[in-house]
Amino acid sequence: MQEEYLLRIKDVSKSFSGVTVLNKVCLNIRPGTVHSLMGENGAGKSTLMKCLFGIYRQDEGQFFLDGEEFNFEDPKHALENGVSMVHQELNQVVQRTINDNIWLGRYPRKRGFVDEKKMYADTKALFERLNIHLDPRMLLDKLSVSQRQMVEIAKAVSYDAKIIVLDEPTSSLTDNEVKMLFDIIGVLKKEGVGIVYISHKMEEIFEISDDVTVLRDGSHIGTEKIENLTMEKIVNMMVGRDLEERFPPKTNVPGDVHMTVKNLSTKYAPFVQDVNFDLHKGEILGVAGLVGAGRTEMVEALFGARTLESGEILIDGKKIDNSTPHKAINNRFALLTEERRQTGIYPVADITFNSTISNVKSYKNKFGFLVDHKMKEDTDKQIGAMRIKTPNRKELIRSLSGGNQQKVIIGRWLLTNPDVLLLDEPTRGIDVGAKFEIYQLIIDLAKNGKSVIVVSSEMPELLGITNRIMVMSNGRVSGIVNTEETTQTEIFNLSAKYLNNNREAEV
């Protein structure tokens, strides 16, 4: 008997160090359909896929392919069983040709040598079937992202894929390229392949989906046929309505305009285009947007870590030069980076080193040597002021919890006495209790007259601690709203505002 579903994911749960990321999630894929998987950043989509492909092992729950239970050991094992994923970040050997990439790991051989002719013919046939017009001998380096993506899809098809997961496949494609991708998806559907489509773009979802499943905070919110859904309904399923009382009271009072940013654009991809906004003294300005909206790039551009194409930054009406991080620090800017482990902490150094490293100049005595006791005093002061939980300042920073590490780094920047604080995902990977303390810290800083920008992917957080929210979409500002007056739905819609625009057409 023919199974109704090609792939069944049943009651899959997963938690990391006590935090539940997936809670009994189900997903059923019918053959020859496109099933869209939706949810905000952190809703659990990618964790679910990682469980499917064996990168993580689920705590409970089962996977069935054609009615048979399975657990893949790794993505290669999945690939060999007809389940493949085309990642947003393509994992390819770009120095080599299309041929070499598609048949990597299973080159056809003839008399001991690689049979280039067969490889070429097979690729050609594959491309014809999928209606892809590329010379298999081209180097991947020379292809556009969309072409490389097509190569990856063709590779999946060449493994006789029954299930293909497409992770935000259109995030960097132009309208025309999207159409070509959809044509290929159409061919695959006709051949009975089941497609799992992960995307934030509503219009696309309505254009190609057959079924839609929505996840929120790791829970399965619902699965519906696309005919039964409206955009409004999906947004409501995705963002929910409840906003819990997890935030300290906003006691800061924004004053006069402190910083003005005009026409800020970056020179190199990922692009930030024509960003304009004001930041008031004592204000907390949130920055919302989807992954890839250019939020991190925007704060990095303000901090001089990205080359600018154009733009000026004015502090109290006076133009300043933030072309390098060094100059930005001298102009009293501070940037808390998104990837704390990679770009924030010095893991093998102690708290003293981690606290004072950005401000090390100021501990010199008249001979140019560093004065230890001043550094120790300052470190102890920060440990006390920020309530960092540690036996003493000699502890290695990597032995602290995520929340306490983050406090050390905030403390490090406070020692440079900044006026403008750029905080990129300040509570990422931090547990709920510590989050509250970080929120309190941010609000206190604003109360003391610092101007703060908070980039966050957590909508409740933005609504909970900011005064205004700037929404970014595809590298541009799509709106600035008052936190008191806005809704999650409004922010979500603004986040998607420029998604379908063809960047090349604008230039």
Binding site: V93, V94, V114
Partner: protein, 341 residues
């Protein structure tokens, strides 16, 4: 013709910059050759060409060996000592029966290929250890092969001192061996022919076999290779064994070319070989490199060295020129892959 000239002259400023950056090393080298030829027109002659090719031969064989490792994002500091090991082994096994101080006084004359095989096996074995350590423990090849470099020197010196006459240069080579390495066919030096055959062999291996393609894949993106089912471990170890075998061949030839071997033979050769690869476009960032690049790199270095000596430039100045060329070549290579933010 007109379309060619428009192509040449209608380039934008940026295109010209790219052109210079991509070809700067060739431009510099061409300029050096030009200076040499202007000072000494006799530089362009058959004997000079023959000398340059002969001097390039062993270097090319060694460069082709280490090139595979560089394509894997690695490097090999033990190359020089490996060559020394091969040279001492080959020389000790191939002395004239009537030579006074033989390493093995009682040994019968061996067929020429037996010592060659011995050299290649010994070097292949030690290189395989390098490859295994690098792939298994994810140790940076710089460190793994540095350890091997030092270890090999110890082993090599012990073996060198263990011969019947004690630690003294191993000379008095078998005439068949000397003729094989230093002879010629119709005026073409045997060394050049051997190097040419080795290059052809490596070219086929790199471009026509699964092994070669896997090597490029592992070097270009190890993760993609793993996910596609390439055995990264065995590919890595094989690349190192191949490199070792090439050092073995190089050392075998080098002993006869120089006329003697001792435990210092081959010292520093890794630097020449690696420099030639890098100048020939075999990238330290991995996954990129061609046999033709290694050939070009080796030839360029030999031509420059020979040319500068030819016009009587002081050796110390030569070091400065060579050193600068290496850094410039690497910077330009890195610039191509630098991600702008």
């Amino acid at each position: 013709m007109s379309s060619l000239s428009t192509k040449l002259f209608k380039k934008s400023k940026e295109e010209w910059m790219d052109f210079f950056i991509n070809n700067a090393i060739y431009i510099v080298i061409f300029a050096i050759i030009l200076i040499v030829v202007i000072r000494e027109p006799k530089f362009i002659s058959v004997p000079v060409l023959r000398n340059i090719l002969t001097q390039s031969s062993v270097r090319l064989i060694l460069a082709l060996g280490v090139a595979g490792i560089i394509i894997l994002q690695g490097t090999d500091l033990s190359l020089g000592r490996s060559v020394g090991m091969a040279a001492v082994v080959a020389a000790s096994l191939l002395q004239r029966p009537d030579y006074a101080s033989r390493f093995y006084p009682e040994m019968a004359q061996l067929p020429l290929f037996v010592p060659l095989l011995a050299s290649m096996l010994v070097c292949g074995f030690f290189s395989a250890i390098n490859g295994w350590v690098v792939a298994k423990f994810k140790i940076h090849p710089f460190l793994a092969t540095m350890g091997m470099m030092i270890t090999l020197y110890g082993i090599l010196s012990i073996y060198f001192a263990s011969g019947a006459p004690g630690p003294q240069p191993i000379g008095g080579h078998d005439t068949r061996y000397v003729d094989l390495v230093n002879g010629n066919v119709l005026g073409i030096p045997n060394l050049v022919i051997i190097a040419g055959l080795a290059a052809a062999f490596i070219w086929v291996l790199w471009n026509k076999t699964t092994f070669g393609k896997n090597m490029y894949a592992v070097g270009g993106n190890p993760e993609a290779a793993t996910v596609s089912g390439v055995n990264v471990m065995s590919t890595t170890v094989l690349v190192y064994i191949l490199a070792g075998a090439m050092y073995g061949l190089g050392g075998y030839l080098e002993a006869a070319r120089i006329g003697s071997a001792n435990n210092g033979t081959g010292f520093g050769y890794e630097l020449d070989a690696i420099a030639a690869c890098v100048v020939g476009g075999i990238s330290f960032s991995g996954g990129i490199g061609k046999v033709s690049g290694a050939i070009a790199g080796v030839l360029m270095f030999t031509i420059i060295t020979y040319g500068m000596t030819f016009i009587g430039l002081d050796q110390y100045y030569q070091y400065i020129v060579k050193g600068v060329i290496i850094v410039v070549a690497v910077s330009l290579d890195a610039k191509k892959y630098l991600k702008k933010v």
